[in-house]
């Protein structure tokens, strides 16, 4: 019994310690940047994190948009309400699926890469040699990745939404023969700029901070062995996915819940 309590206490202290270290790292890294000299580092990270994620984002978005349109169409056709496919698709994408799925894909594609990269730097002692040369690794390694992640995920979300809506057009309009003008007009009548698009993008900013923060911290705090890096990478993907889904519920509750 005492043993168990001791274990619980140790875990809790561990958690608090981790949270504290992560917050310190975040604050120190971000207080450093906006400096013009570092723009090259930021560029390279945006390329690694954002541009190289485009392929997976576009492919997934197209399939997801197409599948949702197909499902909506077959169900709504029973009521003769095929015209509502565009509205349904746009609402689902802008409010929930766009930000969430992009964040999950981003965690798998970019988050794991960030963790593995920084973890390997740590275990080959590149980080400590940087410190020895008087270069702050928080500024040189961590900060550009944090900034790049926070910039890229919202942009990727916007691209995801557009491609998915286009995927819906291809299936519902081109293939199943829904009326294109009611597809677009229905969307424009119902979708609100702030209520749907704006709040979805706000969600995506929250997810961006969350995922990049977890990824960078897991890399920075890894056990410097091959096994440790593997475990950190796994933990990045698992932790970010769970946190994204949990945060999404809380955000949806506070944004669309009735006790606003």
């Amino acid at each position: 019994m005492i043993e168990y309590l001791r274990y619980l206490g140790a875990e809790a202290l561990d958690f608090l310690g981790n949270l504290g270290r992560a917050s310190l790292m975040w604050g120190r890294a971000l207080s450093g940047l906006p400096r013009w000299n570092d723009i090259g580092l930021l560029m390279r990270q945006i390329y690694n994190i954002g541009v190289l994620s485009l392929v997976i984002i576009i492919l997934s978005a197209f399939s997801i948009g197409a599948v949702i349109a197909l499902q909506f169409h077959t169900q709504l056709a029973k009521f003769g309400a095929e015209d509502a496919v565009g509205v349904g698709l746009a609402m689902v994408l802008l409010r929930e699926l766009g930000p969430v799925v992009t964040a999950l894909l981003f965690a798998g594609r970019a988050g794991s890469a960030i963790t593995a990269e920084i973890g390997l730097m740590k275990s080959t002692e590149q980080l400590s040699s940087m410190e020895m040369m008087g270069v702050d690794p928080l500024r040189r390694i961590v900060a550009p990745r944090l900034w790049a992640g926070m910039l890229c995920l919202p942009l990727l979300t916007a691209i995801f939404n557009v491609v998915a809506i286009y995927g819906g057009v291809v299936v519902a309009v081109e293939w199943l023969g829904a009326d294109p003008s009611s597809y677009w007009n229905g969307m424009q009548d119902v979708v609100e700029l702030w209520e749907d698009l704006g709040k979805g993008m706000v969600k995506s900013v929250f997810f961006a901070v969350l995922v990049t923060w977890i990824a960078v911290y897991q890399g920075y705090d890894t056990v410097p062995t091959a096994e440790g890096i593997g475990m950190s990478t796994t933990r990045t993907v698992v932790l970010s996915s769970v946190m994204v889904l949990a945060t999404d519920f809380l955000l949806t509750l506070s944004m669309y819940g009735d006790f606003g």
């Binding site: 090259g40 560029m43 390279r44 945006i46 390329y47 954002g50 541009v51 485009l54 009521f79 003769g80 309400a81 015209d83 509502a84 746009a90 802008l94 910039l151 890229c152 919202p154 942009l155 990727l156 916007a158 691209i159 939404n161 557009v162 809506i165 677009w184 229905g186 969307m187 424009q188 009548d189 119902v190 979708v191 609100e192 700029l193 749907d196 698009l197 993008m201």
Partner: protein, 152 residues
């Protein structure tokens, strides 16, 4: 990879993201950038506007000629006043133009349908349409039906 290629592709990526946002705002949520278009407003008094929303379309013979700008309640008469924003200049719609609230398809959105009158004079800015027919409320129809069946 060359730094230059990276810069160009990053630029293209950011541009694509920004364009995607603009596309979503304009094409999907229907923000009207041509706000300075010629419009005038008339009002229509309905006994019930249930289901009509702001920005719903106003149509004449199935062609969209404007939008519902605002919906207000008239506390004195217990009626609803819809402010209709019509495209173009005043001078086409006769004074006794009628307005009905109809539904697009089975589950579709409610919109306002205008029907031309025969007066010589035309509606101008701020005029009131009184020949109206409000929204059909399914529940009250069913209620009427049940009451009548009960009476027989």
């Amino acid at each position: 990879m060359q730094m230059r290629t990276i810069e160009i592709s990053v630029g293209a990526f950011v541009l694509a993201g920004a364009l995607a946002l603009v596309f979503l705002a304009v094409k999907v949520s229907g923000v009207d950038l041509t706000a300075s278009r010629d419009t005038y407003t008339v009002q229509a008094r309905f006994n019930d506007v249930a289901g009509l929303r702001e920005r719903a379309k106003v149509s004449l013979a199935g062609v969209t000629i404007g939008r519902v700008a605002r919906i207000e309640a008239d506390m004195n008469y217990g009626e609803a006043i819809a402010v209709l924003e019509l495209n173009g200049q005043p001078g086409n719609l006769p004074l006794d133009t009628g307005a009905r609230i109809v539904t697009e398809g089975l589950l579709g959105a409610r919109y306002v349908s205008l029907s031309l009158g025969i007066e010589e004079d035309y509606l101008t800015e701020g005029d009131m349409i009184t020949d109206t027919q409000g929204a059909l409320v399914l529940e009250s129809l069913i209620g009427d039906f049940v009451t009548k069946m009960g009476a027989n």
